[in-house]
């Protein structure tokens, strides 16, 4: 169980009590932000503790621990925003930061201070992730043993593995947000991640492979099965890439593997359906709502309420409960992801997508766990259906230009398909396309929907967040593949 009064009590103890911050001061600060005709204001308190252990050369010879904390103060009127933040929680500092934000507003109207506010709680409890403390769990002994096991597993898996690097990261975020009506909501969010990178060598040639797992769960989830599967993926990638030939170049059919390759839809569609670019009419999908933008059978969903996923937030950073938003249903664009400001201005419902990297960043509409739903085809049949193309089960990440819809992403493991068979591994290639056009070229959808194992993250306007991505095996006709072969 998490959230509710339990999370609120913990948040108040960790964020307010240590700095001798009381309710009266918080009410005064939010009153300042809500004055002068503000139609949106909030105070966002946050404390993050994190721990990391690194292995290289078979040894864990360093580790780190960080405490970051602060408060962000926002005040807005008709979409125009003023924002200030501080690492200092003392009462006088909080009043200063609220006044600083308010003084940045140049469009204020002269009206009385917002008065008569009383703090009230509106967070409810949830069971998406437990109120555990992975930072406390991630102590030296257990993490060093785990990382050395990763090292041993990788070297034992294949004698060609000559170098292993791995790290464990644990974080515990406690947040509390107070809005202009003095409504409070709090959440406690654990993050645990394990990452491995290996180098294989044979006949004077070297190649690398990498993989990661993670979630909002405790360290007991890093059991032999989960760790073994991650190591096997990284080792396979490195050894396959030892034999890779130059990737082809040109327009061809591409089959994407299940799971992390869903980053394609995160980039190609997801960002274009975030409310901020729509409000400014700057999304490539502007004006396409209600229209058939993808092949029939294509359904894309953003769901912040999936159990223990890194993209899950029981409530977003503005206190809006997690939601499951259907973005594309059977090929038709039906939904959009919103934060408070954009939902308010567009007269749209809030969808629980108002996320921020930290107290030092403004919230904006962001994805949570975004995936393309399963179809009915056998993945083997999908590969067999391709005359000449590439099969890509692993990617290094991608980017999108939200305004034009142009996206790209780069393979870290890929194979040539010839006459329906995987014939040879190929080197990394960059795949490019335009979101709404690529959607129309999805011709086959597998029955093997999977989400990534916990290695995904997302950057937008300089803010990084953990997300999840996913999809089943998919065939996309006509994608531009940019390898160095001809």
């Amino acid at each position: 169980m998490n959230g509710g009064t339990q999370a609120l009590d913990l948040a108040r103890a960790r964020l307010w009590d240590r700095s001798e911050l009381d309710e009266a001061t918080v009410v005064r600060a939010i009153g300042t932000l809500a004055s002068r005709g503000a139609d949106l204001a909030d105070l966002y308190f946050e404390s993050v503790r994190s721990r990391q252990w690194n292995l290289e050369n078979g040894q864990v010879s360093n580790g780190s621990f960080t405490i970051d904390q602060g408060v962000g103060a926002r005040t807005s009127r008709e979409g125009r925003v003023a924002f200030a933040y501080s690492a200092d929680f003392r009462p006088e500092a909080l009043l200063d930061v609220a006044a600083a934000a308010q003084s940045l507003r140049r469009d204020g109207v002269d009206s009385a201070e917002a008065g008569g506010l009383r703090l009230a709680s509106r967070s409810s409890s949830h069971d998406l992730y437990a109120m555990i403390d992975p930072v406390e769990q991630a102590q030296a002994e257990i993490c060093i043993a785990l990382l050395q096991k990763v090292d041993a597993m990788a070297r034992a898996a294949d004698p060609r593995i000559v170098d292993v690097r791995a790290n464990i990261g644990a974080a515990d975020k406690v947040m509390l947000v107070v809005d202009q009506d003095a409504q409070m909501a709090a959440d406690v969010r654990p993050v645990l991640r394990l990452f491995v990178q290996v180098i294989a060598e044979a006949k004077g040639r070297r190649a690398q492979g990498m993989d990661g797992i993670g979630g909002r769960y405790g360290i007991e989830r890093f059991d032999d099965a989960a760790v073994g599967a991650m190591v096997a993926n990284a080792v396979r990638q490195a050894t396959v890439n030892l034999d890779a030939r130059p990737a082809p170049s040109g327009v061809m059919s591409v089959v994407l593997g299940p799971g992390y390759p869903g980053v394609l839809f995160h980039e190609a569609i997801g960002h274009g359906l975030e409310g901020d670019h729509h409000r400014l009419k700057l999304s490539a999908f502007t004006g396409m709502l209600g229209k058939q933008i993808a092949s029939k059978g294509v359904t894309v969903i953003d769901d912040g309420g999936m159990s223990e996923r890194l993209g899950s937030v029981a409530m977003d950073d503005e206190g809006t409960p997690a939601d499951r938003t259907v973005l594309i249903e059977d090929g038709i664009l039906v939904g959009m992801m919103q934060d408070r400001l954009n939902a308010g201005m567009m007269n749209w419902k809030r969808t629980g997508n108002g996320r921020r990297q930290s107290y030092a960043h403004l919230p904006m509409p962001r994805m949570t766990n975004t995936y393309l739903g399963a179809g009915e085809e056998d993945p083997a049949d999908i590969i067999a259906s391709v005359g000449r193309g590439i099969y890509a089960p692993a990617f290094g990440g991608g980017q999108v230009d939200i305004v034009s819809g142009r996206f790209n992403f780069s393979t870290t493991e890929a194979w040539l398909i010839e006459d329906g068979k995987l014939t040879a591994p190929v080197e990394g290639a960059t795949l490019i396309g335009i979101g709404h056009e690529a959607l129309k070229h999805i011709s086959r959808i597998g029955n093997d929907l999977a989400l990534d194992a916990g290695q995904a993250s997302c950057g937008k306007q300089g803010q990084n967040l953990s997300v999840s991505v996913g999809q089943p095996t998919l065939r996309i006709d006509e994608m531009m593949v940019g390898g160095r072969g001809e």
Binding site: S64, Q139, A140, N241, A247, S249, D401
Partner: protein, 452 residues
């Protein structure tokens, strides 16, 4: 040196905090420490349609301390800088150091490497205006951009902005090292959208400098954004081909960043570089030189020493195509039995040049003859181990040595070790982007992927 108005901590306060952390570590038997304190303050205004769309006041601080105990180390950071938090951070770092495994190469920089004194380039020019002046400057950029809009074309200004920030950094190390650096950064920018039958695209232009007075003028930034947006109208794909590609000076970084990764000491030692055992070897065409300079006044990547207290030096990383040095911090230097080059945080200011005069951009077009000029890199990457290079790009096409039409939706690919040898020329059209000064770079033997 004048204290600016944006930073909430004085330089002396930052040094005191760093020194307190090192002093506290000194009370732990056998421990030595390095403590770094950063603080920054800034203001940032984004305007749209003649109004402030977003105004932001930044203020952050962080103490990072690393404790060394018998070949082991632990690190800890805290945003709270009160004495109790400083002690806690030091003790947490010491606890980690006691629990990790020893590595004989993990230690503070050798005292003989430390920059107890030495040149301190000027990097601080505080902002003396207030929020209102910054907002006025952002509004002026937008106004100038609107005035520069061409008639009869679907181009609009989407935003303009201005920002100023001040940064303080103090570094204290057991054994009596305690130095600090104050720096500043100022910028202004503009974005414009161009629409045609194929869709829409946004182009940015910005100017960034340590000195407010050295920024490109409001008009220059505004006009550059409009010109870039206008240049995108009518963009189409291009024919696939193998041959030369010209990288415009403003994106030269895409080539140089890979070279820096390959020359990084830790990558070299791990065998994770596409230029293994590079030093002394011909790694690029024999007319190519890459110089590093930490000490240029107001250089974007200038600093008197790195995060370990070691100064860099003015030197060649590549000279006439031959690699002359690696980027070493203490750890990689010890592993490779050499000295730190003061690069634990990466390279300082860089200048890529050629002994063969490449001429201005139009001369470079003539040298290219027919093919792609890259003006923007949208994504992609380079495998650090194999050097396989692949990118999604846009730019314009050149036919018979002259600009023909704008292009988009293209890929380029090559092998980094080959690409460096295939540099035909570097232009005299020098621009500075981030810490790199370079002209446009003409590279032969690239695979261009296009659809027409």
């Amino acid at each position: 040196m004048t204290q600016g108005a944006l930073l909430l901590r004085t330089e002396e306060e930052l040094r005191e905090v760093a020194q307190q952390a090192v002093d506290h570590a000194g009370t732990i038997a056998g421990a030595r420490a390095r403590a770094s304190v950063f603080a920054s303050g800034g203001i940032n205004a984004l305007v749209r349609d003649g109004q402030v769309d977003k105004a932001q006041r930044d203020g952050s601080q962080m103490l990072s301390v690393t404790v060394f105990l018998d070949g082991r180390s632990g690190s800890s950071s805290t945003a709270a800088l009160d004495p109790a938090s400083i002690r806690l951070a030091v003790e947490e770092a010491a606890t980690i150091a006691r629990n990790v495994q020893p590595d004989p190469n993990v230690d503070l920089a050798d005292p003989s490497w430390l920059a107890f004194d030495g040149p301190s380039p000027k990097v601080f020019a505080p902002y003396h205006g207030g929020v209102d002046q910054l907002v006025e400057s952002a509004l002026a950029v937008e106004k100038a951009a609107i005035a520069a809009l061409p008639t009869g074309k679907d181009i609009a200004v989407t935003e303009a902005g201005a920002a100023s920030s001040e940064h303080g950094w103090a570094l204290a190390i057991s054994g009596g090292f305690c130095r600090s650096v104050m720096s500043s950064n100022h910028s202004r920018w503009c974005a414009a959208i161009a629409r045609d039958d194929n869709g829409q695209s946004i182009e940015f232009a910005d100017s960034s400098d340590k000195r407010f007075d050295s920024l490109d003028s409001v008009e220059t930034v505004a006009e550059r954004a409009i010109r870039r947006a206008e240049a995108r109208l009518g963009a189409r794909s291009a024919p696939a081909m193998r041959g030369p590609v010209l990288f415009e000076a403003r994106i030269a970084q895409v080539v140089v960043a890979d070279v820096l990764n390959a020359l990084d000491g830790l990558s070299q030692h791990r065998g994770a570089s596409f230029l293994p055992d590079a030093v002394g070897r011909q790694v690029a065409a024999d007319h190519v030189t890459l110089m590093e300079d930490p000490f240029e006044d107001y250089g974007p990547a200038s600093a008197p020493f790195d995060g370990e207290g070691v100064a860099g030096s003015r030197r060649a990383l590549i000279e006439d195509g031959i690699a002359r040095g690696y980027l070493h911090g203490s750890l990689s230097a010890r592993r490779m039995a050499t000295q730190s080059s003061g690069n634990s945080q990466g390279a300082y200011n860089l200048e890529l040049s050629s002994s063969k005069p490449g001429g201005m951009l139009t001369d470079m077009h003539r040298m290219l003859g027919r093919g792609l000029v890259v003006t923007a890199v949208k994504g992609g990457g380079t495998d650090p181990v194999t050097g396989n290079f692949t990118r999604a790009v846009s730019g314009y096409w050149v036919e018979d040595g002259a600009v023909a039409y704008p292009v988009d939706d293209l890929t380029i690919a090559g092998s980094m070790p080959d690409m460096l040898h295939n540099i035909i020329a570097i232009g005299a059209d020098v621009e500075r982007q981030g810490g790199l000064r370079s002209g446009s770079i003409l590279i032969d033997g690239m695979q261009v992927g296009g659809q027409s």
